[in-house]
Symmetry: C2
Subunit: 246 residues, 2 copies
DNA sequence: GCAATCAATTGACAATAGTCAAGGCAAACA
DNA sequence: TGTTTGCCTTGACTATTGTCAATTGATTGC
């Protein structure tokens, strides 16, 4: 096994999704995989293209989105470390259901869908893990839709910030760093950049957070939680909102 | 096998999701199932309750939703004939991820989750069918989120109406009947009843549809498609938007 | 048949978010 | 160092949607 293959093997092994896979399988798929570094703005695949590979994000950020004929786009999600994307195309006649593009310089592992399909069909535990991952993702997307329905712009931003924090540690001062452009955060939350800018200002007034460029600080998350989670059906800290799948 | 069990058996057999299941399994789960008729407004289960059963809708309509402490609710989806709901709780520690309530008088089949779990773990083809169903549903929810982002109220209504039509037959006059209250359609589309009422009026002006109570008529779908699908990433007719799973 | 109830519509107004245009700021580059 | 570029902010305005209140309309039950 090459050094790269070994690296990929170790990465996969650490993912919960692949925890039920044999070492043989991991070795085989790792050998067929490619690890690449892509600059910001690289298209991984396009909506409705023929799908032969799925991707694992090693580092960086990748947005998945769809766009209308006149260039308007809706961002479905933005993934980072340990998330996979494009894998659902094996259930969609090998057609990608969305487009994917790096939004920061990113390290990506390209893996053959055919081997994933084989493994699902032959390893019941893996199929179960896959189902589990999809159910978790689905719940997350349901919540996303809920937020669009019940939360206004400042609340959606507050919720976004909270999800960037380590929710296990509460109390005490917190520093949050936006992982990518504000314009992109805006789009991820379904609003215009101008709205984002003004809504962040409002959030500052309402919760006393400090905004310095792409860093947000606050003495305590309390006020942020009270303000943002008021219009939500889940209580803070939101559980089950982590998933590897995309 | 009782007569009811036989009825349920036959229903399940006709669903794509269960097409890979043995007759033995269908007989077994049908015998453990209950077929009930519920009036409008009956709660099937509540968000975060312990989940022991999943449900199949035989007729009528069931909304799945979540609500905040102050009673605001977000409707995730509304299901009818042949759709199942509550089944994802087996991947969520046997906790229902949303609440479910009938919105029309409905015939429902209550089925034990434990047997579903067994079948997934022992029948790889069924696991695959389950994955397939979830992937399809996921794509549909992604599109729902996209619509909230890109479409305005009249367009969302137009799109909703189009999805109620038989999209294979095009051209010629069409009559569409709203399957439940306008208030509920509004909520399903993430808007207030007042907004729905005004948006429907606007849609009428823009596309020439005729609105009489809960019946909508038009000489041709052309104008409706042109107006509603302009802000969408999929072209009409939208494929892959049908699923049995919920 | 009539009251009661709930759904739906409408008007007037408020709040929220989007659009367009103009600057400001900061990182990157020559 | 100065310029360029792209991101971000701000102002002024518009559009869309929400809110509250009143009314109409339709359906149900007595």
């Amino acid at each position: 096994m090459t050094e790269t293959a070994q690296t990929i093997h170790d990465m996969l092994q650490r993912l919960e999704l692949f925890s039920s896979c044999s070492d043989d399988f991991l070795t085989k798929i790792s050998s067929a995989a490619h690890l690449t570094t892509k600059p910001k703005g690289h298209m991984l695949f396009i909506h409705e293209d023929q799908a032969d590979y799925f991707y694992l994000v090693k580092s960086g950020w990748v947005k998945i989105f769809r766009e209308t004929l006149d260039g308007d786009q809706a961002i479905v999600d933005i993934f980072t470390n340990g998330h996979i994307l494009g894998e659902t195309s094996i259930f969609q006649d090998d057609i990608y259901p969305y487009s994917a593009e790096t939004v920061e310089p990113s390290e990506l592992v390209q893996l053959p869908l055919s081997m994933l399909k084989d493994e699902i069909e032959t390893n019941p535990k893996f199929a179960m893990a896959m189902l589990s991952s999809m159910a978790r993702y689905r719940k997350q997307q349901d919540q996303e839709l809920e937020h669009r329905t019940l939360q206004n712009a400042p609340q959606r931003i507050g919720c976004f910030l909270l999800r960037l924090t380590d929710q296990s540690q509460s109390g005490g001062p917190v520093r949050i760093h936006l992982p990518y452009d504000k314009t992109l955060v805006a789009s991820r939350l379904g609003m215009q950049p101008e709205t984002f800018s003004r809504a962040l200002k409002k959030l500052k007034q309402e919760t006393g957070i400090e905004v310095k460029g792409s860093t947000i600080e606050t003495d305590s998350l309390d006020r942020l939680v009270r303000y943002s989670c008021a219009a939500c059906t889940s209580e803070f800290p939101c559980k089950d909102l982590e998933t590897e799948s995309g």
